[in-house]
Structures are given as C-alpha cells and as structure tokens.
C-alpha cells in the first residue's frame, strides 16, 4: 500500500482552517503563517505517514447518509426522552466488524454513536461492543449499512467474516458474555 506524507497538502488544509477561523481578515496572517507552520510540523510528528485515501464520491454518499441518520438519531432519542412513558429497553451487544483498518474502525464507531439508538462502548479484538437504547431496533441491519458506507468512503473491501450481532447478557471484567 502506498504511504503518503504530503507536507504541502497538510499545510494547505491548515491554512484554509486558519483563513476560516480568522474570518478572512488579512491581518490574521501575522499569526496565521507561523501557526500553520507549527501545526504542519506537529501533524507530521504525530502522524508521519498515512496509508489511506478518501474517495470523493464515497465521501459525498457518506456525508448524505450521515446527515440523514443523525437527524433520525436526534429525533428518536429526543422523543424517547420527552414521552411520559419513556420507551427504552436497553441492551449491550457485540458486533463482529468486517472493517479491518484502524482508521475505518474509528470512523465506524463514531458514526454508530450518532445513529438512532446505538452507542459504541469500545473494541474487543475484531468486535465492537455497543449499547442499544431499544433492543427492538434493527441494529444489525444498520451496522452492516454503516460498514458498507465507511468502506465506500475509503475504497476498502469488507472481510467476508463477521457482520453479525450477539446480545451480551452479562458484562464482567469489561467483557461481553
């Protein structure tokens, strides 16, 4: 796999962020230029290389899906919170991930936490544990969907193994049993 350092690319991203933060004020560059430099150096120190790329078309599809799902997620939890009957029936689950690279798993977990009724609670080997607000929700289908879209975003193929959900009756020592 090709690895990228791309210091110039990073500097351009930081410069755009600075331009936005300074609200396009030209005087801001007195501080902006040194800090863009420092941010680039820090970024190269912290993550010297990266082996992943984002596919623009996949990113657009992911962004649309993400916005749609976070609206649904927000409405779902808001209604459960304000309804007098407070309809929740929580359960912890374990999901065997089909995404392998770490960066994809992190994005997967963060996305899952904003979906309706699901909250990632950590990784265990190739599995992710999650807390579900209502065990009647179609969790397995949603998780498989998110994985497919994260794979589409990074141009990855999903592993044939996994993609299945297990209910955890008990969590002892932080592990699902």
């Amino acid at each position: 796999m090709r690895r990228h350092t791309r210091p110039l690319e990073r500097a351009v991203v930081f410069a755009v962020v600075w331009w936005v933060v300074a609200e396009a004020d030209p005087e801001g560059w007195v501080f902006g230029i040194p800090f863009v430099g420092l941010a680039t150096v820090a970024s190269l120190k912290l993550t010297p290389t990266r082996s992943w790329r984002i596919r623009p078309a996949g990113a657009l599809r992911y962004a649309w899906y993400f916005v749609h799902q976070s609206v649904m997620g927000g409405i779902d939890v808001a209604l459960r919170a304000i309804k007098p009957s407070m309809p929740i029936d929580p359960m912890i689950f374990r999901y065997r991930m089909r995404l392998v690279p770490e960066h994809a798993r992190v994005l997967f977990a963060d996305t899952v936490s904003l979906l309706p009724g699901t909250l990632s609670t950590g990784f265990e080997g190739d599995s992710m544990t999650l807390h579900v607000l209502d065990r009647e929700l179609p969790v397995e289908q949603s998780l498989r969907d998110v994985e497919r879209r994260v794979a589409d975003l990074f141009g990855l193929t999903l592993s044939a193994e996994g993609g299945n959900l297990l209910a955890c009756e008990n969590i002892t020592g932080g592990e699902c049993r």
Binding site: V20, S70, G74, A81, P90, D110, S113, L119, G122
Partner: protein
C-alpha cells in the same frame, strides 16, 4: 421571510437541546444518558448553525460555524465512546427494563 425561517430553525435547535437535557435528567444510567447527550445536542447545534447561517454577513462566517459544528460532532462522538468504554471496563452494569 429569511428572518422568520432563521428564528424557526433556532427554535427547533433549542427544542433538541431541551430534549437532550431532559434525557440526561430522566434516563436511568450513564449509557442511556450518553445517547441523549451526543445525538440530541449534535442535531440541536446543527439547527442553530443553520438558523444563524441565514443571518450571517459573509460566507466565511458560515464556514466558521460549520467548522465548529464538525469539531463538536467529532469531539462529542469520541468523548461519549471513551466515557462509555470506561464505564463498561469498570463493570458499570447497564440499566435493564424490568419485565
């Protein structure tokens, strides 16, 4: 007209913040409260940003608010993952509905 749409969007945003806070108070344990915090507040802030964007003087101010929104989403999702993981690894049992 724009003024009213902007006001309506901000009001919808405020509703989600209120619902999220209600969830934090009413929900029974740390896990369920994190659901309310991350999801409702993320959406509430989204609506407030949209409402304020209609009143903004320049495009760059809109971009700045979108940047803040994006950072809040990433920070919120990551922080809730870490809090939930800490709770789970220290054996905080999730609340279960009595059946």
């Amino acid at each position: 007209m724009t003024e009213w749409i902007s006001l309506a969007l901000i009001a919808v945003g405020a509703f989600f913040f209120l619902a999220g806070s209600t969830g934090v108070l009413r929900f029974p344990d740390v896990y369920t409260r994190l659901h309310a915090l991350t999801k409702a507040d993320n959406l509430g802030l989204g609506f407030v940003v949209l409402g304020l964007a209609l009143r903004a003087d320049s495009v760059v101010v809109v971009l700045k608010m979108l940047l803040i929104w994006a950072l809040v989403i990433v920070a919120g999702a990551t922080a809730s993952h870490l809090v939930a993981e800490a709770a789970r690894t220290s054996n905080v049992a999730p609340w279960r509905k009595r059946s």
